[in-house]
Every structure is written in structure tokens, then in C-alpha cells.
Amino acid sequence: MNSQESTIETGEAQEGSLGQIKVNHTVVSTIVKMAAIKVPGVLAIGGNFVENFIAQISSKESDKGVRVSEDEAGNYKIEIRVLMEYGTELAKTAETLQMIVAKQVSNMTGKPVASVDVVIEGVKMADEKASEPSEEAAE
């Protein structure tokens, strides 16, 4: 199995079953981004300059700012780097973000989420962010 792909169990493997469903980590990271950007107070998703640059040249645009891995039990471990809006309660927003992302990912993939680590990479005014080309919105 590809390390970028996770498998969703669709019941015991037996004759006549339709087979396994595989979800690529890129898909999970897209779900994470789409869920995260809707959280009030989150301005953008994105890592640091080096990470963004690597994502740019490796054409893995959708992975930018989100890292998806799995623990021993096969549950998702998610790390998300965000840019937050000045004036919001950062800790509260991050907590909301954790819950929303975990809920959305487990709802859409049917697989539990072990942890969602949020890294606040920057704080900006809402209008200031619009003028920065390096930090992209998830859409």
C-alpha cells in the first residue's frame, strides 16, 4: 500500500465484498484545509517560507500547511499550520479548529482522528493578509 494512502475498513474481508476504500493523505489534507478556513479567526493555511517553497516546486500544492500521518492503530495524526486574525482569542480559536477538523475528517473518511496539532505560524490583521502573496488561502 502506498504510504500516502490509508485504508478504510468496510467490514471483514470476505468473499463477495466490494473491496477496500483507499483515501489518499492529500485528500485528507484538502478536507482539513476546507474545514479549517471556515473557522472564524483563521485567515490562511500555510507553513513557513521553506515549506511553502518545497510545496511549490514539488507541485504538492494541496499539502501546503497540512501534514497527515497515521499512528500505530491507523488513526489520523494531523498537523496544521495556520495564520490567525489579530483580535481573536487564539487559544479558543485553535481549540475550535481542532474539534472541527477532527469531526470533519472522521465524518468524511469514517476513520478516527488521534490528534490535531495546531501551529499558529503568524498573526495578521484581516486586511494585511490580503496583501501578502506568500500566504495563500485554502480555496
Partner: protein
């Protein structure tokens, strides 16, 4: 293994002394670079951890947050912040350009309490160390252009350190 050592020895014998010194200097520089990289302070601080995961804040985010808090003050024209994380404590130093030299102490004290309140409320940080404020200029002079003068004076404000540099008349005339 011994052959390899002999080959290396022969190679060193063939090399001129300045090349050996050069190689040695590069080796030392690489070691120093690695050492400084390992000694670098952590660039992230854990705000809290729970069953759902951890929330970490980067040094840049803290600097952004503090800078924005300063810029919201009506007397502050520009601000440059440096955050140092030592253990779980945050030490901040801020260079400020104020609109006018009046209300120096009040502005600095107000900013200190605002920043400490912000870090406590927004990120649940209770380990707030020193908040050093350095007034570098007034008016339109760029904060980045003015170095901190060695004859700057320091006065104690609450439990944090407040430093004020004397007004830089020359640079103000330039602008």
C-alpha cells in the same frame, strides 16, 4: 581501514599546507554552524495540550501579535518586536517609534500591561517574562534606521523593564 587511513595520510602529504589549513577551517566552521543550530532557542511554544492534540505558537506569531498590539496604540507609529523563548518563559523586547515625545512613560506602561494581558487572555500564557520597551525615535523616522544608543536610560516600570533612548534630533531633521 588501515589502507584508508594510509591513503588519507598520503593525500594529506601531497596537499600544500594552505589547503590543509583551508580544509581544517571549513571543518571548524561546519562544527560551529552545527553547534549554533543545536543551541538555537526553540522557535515554538506550546500553548496547551489536550486529548485532541497540542496548540503551538511560533515565535513569529508571538512577534506579530505583540507588534499588532503596539500598533493599535494611538501614540505608536511603528514597532519592531523580538521575542525570546527561554524554557517556558517569554521575554520580549520592543523598539518603538512614537508620534510625539509626550506620554512616554504612560504609553510604555500601557503597552506593557496590554501585552501581558493579551498573552494571558489570548494564549493562556502565565509565564510572561520581561517586556522591555525601547523608544528609538519620534515622528517619521524609521525605527529600523536608528540603532539603539548606548547611553539609553532604563527605568523600572511595574515588574518589567522600560528603556528609553534619547530623542534622535539628527535623524528627525533628515526626514
Amino acid at each position: 581501514m588501515s589502507e584508508l587511513f594510509e591513503q588519507a595520510n598520503e593525500l594529506l602529504d601531497q596537499l600544500p599546507p594552505f589547503a590543509i589549513i583551508g580544509i581544517f577551517a571549513v571543518f571548524v566552521l561546519v562544527l560551529l554552524g552545527l553547534g549554533s543550530m543545536l543551541k538555537r532557542p526553540p522557535s515554538r511554544l506550546t500553548a496547551f495540550s489536550s486529548d485532541t492534540g497540542s496548540v503551538l505558537v511560533s515565535r513569529k506569531a508571538l512577534q506579530d501579535l505583540i507588534r499588532q498590539a503596539c500598533l493599535r496604540d494611538e501614540w505608536v507609529q511603528a514597532a519592531r518586536t523580538v521575542v525570546k523563548i527561554s524554557g517556558s518563559k517569554i521575554n520580549t523586547s520592543i523598539d518603538l517609534r512614537l508620534t510625539s515625545p509626550t506620554n512616554l512613560k504612560e504609553t510604555s506602561e500601557r503597552l506593557q500591561s496590554r501585552i501581558s494581558e493579551l498573552l494571558q487572555k489570548s494564549l493562556n500564557f502565565d509565564q510572561i517574562g520581561k517586556i522591555e520597551i525601547m523608544i528609538t525615535s519620534f515622528g517619521k523616522t524609521d525605527v529600523d534606521e536608528i540603532p539603539a544608543t548606548p547611553d539609553s536610560s532604563t527605568i523600572q516600570a511595574k515588574d518589567a523593564t522600560l528603556s528609553t533612548a534619547p530623542r534622535n534630533e539628527d535623524s528627525e531633521h533628515e526626514n
